[in-house]
């Protein structure tokens, strides 16, 4: 089994707001992130897939294909977007980095013809990242 990781970068805006809470409660829980005008990050996405290298090609997956899938399923949808307003799942869900990792997993899951998705890692800033392994 070999694990292959591809990185990509995207920039997006978001804010944290739970409509079931009062403005004061949102402010208390989310602090500066609750500002409804939003703020942004340069996100780094790392997608790890696993599989045996193909006996003929030596590839676990063709990196071009993985890049194309990541571009189509994630970057085209999220890059330079306001996540809360322009990405459907975040209209009803708070776009925390945890939820972003889960959302990206769901967007990629089932899109790979060969190799299996192993991990989605999303860096919100260089010193903060979330890992999701598809676990329930």
């Amino acid at each position: 089994m070999v694990y292959l990781t591809r990185k990509a970068e995207f920039s997006a805006a978001h804010y944290y707001h739970n409509p079931q809470w009062s403005a004061e409660e949102n402010q208390r829980v989310f602090g500066k992130c609750a500002n409804l005008n939003g703020h942004g990050h340069n996100y780094t996405l790392e997608v790890t897939v696993k599989g045996e290298p193909d006996a003929k090609s030596g590839f676990v997956i063709d990196l071009k294909d993985l890049k194309a899938i990541m571009n189509r399923e994630v970057l085209d949808v999220m890059d330079h977007r306001m996540l809360n307003k322009e990405v459907p799942e975040f209209v009803t869900q708070i776009p925390t980095t945890e939820n972003l990792a889960i959302s990206i997993w769901k967007r990629l899951e089932g899109k790979l013809k060969i190799a299996r998705l192993h991990r989605v890692r999303v860096y919100e800033t260089p010193d903060l990242f979330v890992d999701f392994y598809g676990e329930k």
Partner: protein, 139 residues
Amino acid sequence: MKAYLTRAYLFSASHRLHSDEFSAEKNAEVYGKCNNPHGHGHNYRVEVTVGGQVDATLGMVCDLAELDTFVNNEIIERYSLENLNTLPEFKEVVPTTENLSIEIFNRLRSGFKPAEVTKIRIEETAMNSFEYSAGAELR
């Protein structure tokens, strides 16, 4: 107490991705620019992870100087500034970084005795990396 130690090493080498089992058209389709007959190169960054009990006296999993000497002699000397396709292990095996990870893992795992080599991670470029741990689940 078991701990894991990771040390990074750098080497530069060239390779060409080409399978004799594919036609010229199929090779071009599968490998794209990497099939260029003249080859191309990378600065590879290899992370070697060893695991073992922390020695009560030394406070170490293994002596880093011993690991450095072994990796330099067995891996860096072998691959640095070489064309990977010319080496015996890649005569029949395409030198993708998947296969390079497995090759380096096997060389270190079987040869390095002071601690168990548990994982190899290779960055081929800043955007691509490969990990091999002989079937152990990665976390």
